[in-house]
Amino acid sequence: MRIAVKPDPSEPRRVVDEVERFCLERALSQDIIFRFQLSLDELLTNIISYGFEGTTEDPVITVDIRLGDADIEITIRDNGQPFNPLEDAEIPDISLAAEDRPIGGLGIHLTKSFIDTLAYERVEGFNCLTLTQPLGAAGSEESPDEH
């Protein structure tokens, strides 16, 4: 399934809803839904807010969902300025006190923590970020059913 995304701040929530519907229709776990909702809100908000600063391109943003036998893969593509969130994003210092904390910078950190596998490539003028999550145990050693 492909979702076309407009460069509008209201779009991340619409995409999150569509991905939730896709996952629910296929009886995927709430845990997987949560991880993708969080990550898509973070990544799409970044692209829409900053990705096209200083570019003259007409924004093209797409989200593709592919369900395999063992995992689910979501690829976000945008023709904004080259940005590899796996390398170009600053790593926040989460040990700082409330008063010393910078106000931003957590989104990509959360995405990296909540998604099992992330892969970035720049292809023909597009940033392509693929998020892969196994359908079984969800990224952490603990099974959510054991609590």
């Binding site: 909702q37 957590l106 989104g107």
Partner: protein, 111 residues
């Protein structure tokens, strides 16, 4: 996202439901600021019906933590669902605010 607030003295209890994401974090910030600026120096947020919170929501939460700290009070959370607790752990917010099982325990932490 919705917050239903009740007051007892200078402590407010806000029951947060729905999701706090990039689209409504400003509203979340506005509601929390309204509660604190209205005189509640201690704020308990009951997160039992919170579906998710993204980094934009954490920013609003950080502002509320600073404000209650500056007012000589504090902010505490309770009934935090497991996946949201993971967000708080990964972001380091468990060090900035206390997390309790129940509203009563959270309220008692201010005494």
């Amino acid at each position: 996202m919705n917050i239903e607030t009740s007051y007892s003295g200078d402590t407010a209890v806000g029951v947060v439901s729905g999701r706090v994401d990039s689209s409504n974090a400003k509203d979340f910030d506005g509601e929390l600021s309204g509660i604190i600026d209205g005189g509640a120096t201690n704020l308990v947020l009951d997160c039992g019906s919170l579906r998710y919170i993204s980094s934009a929501g954490l920013r609003a939460l950080l502002i509320a933590i600073r404000k209650t700290n500056q007012a000589g009070g504090g902010l505490a959370l309770c009934h935090v669902p497991e996946n949201i607790l993971e967000v708080l752990e990964v972001s380091g917010f468990v060090r900035l605010t206390k997390v309790f099982e129940t509203v009563e325990e959270a309220q008692a932490s201010f005494k």
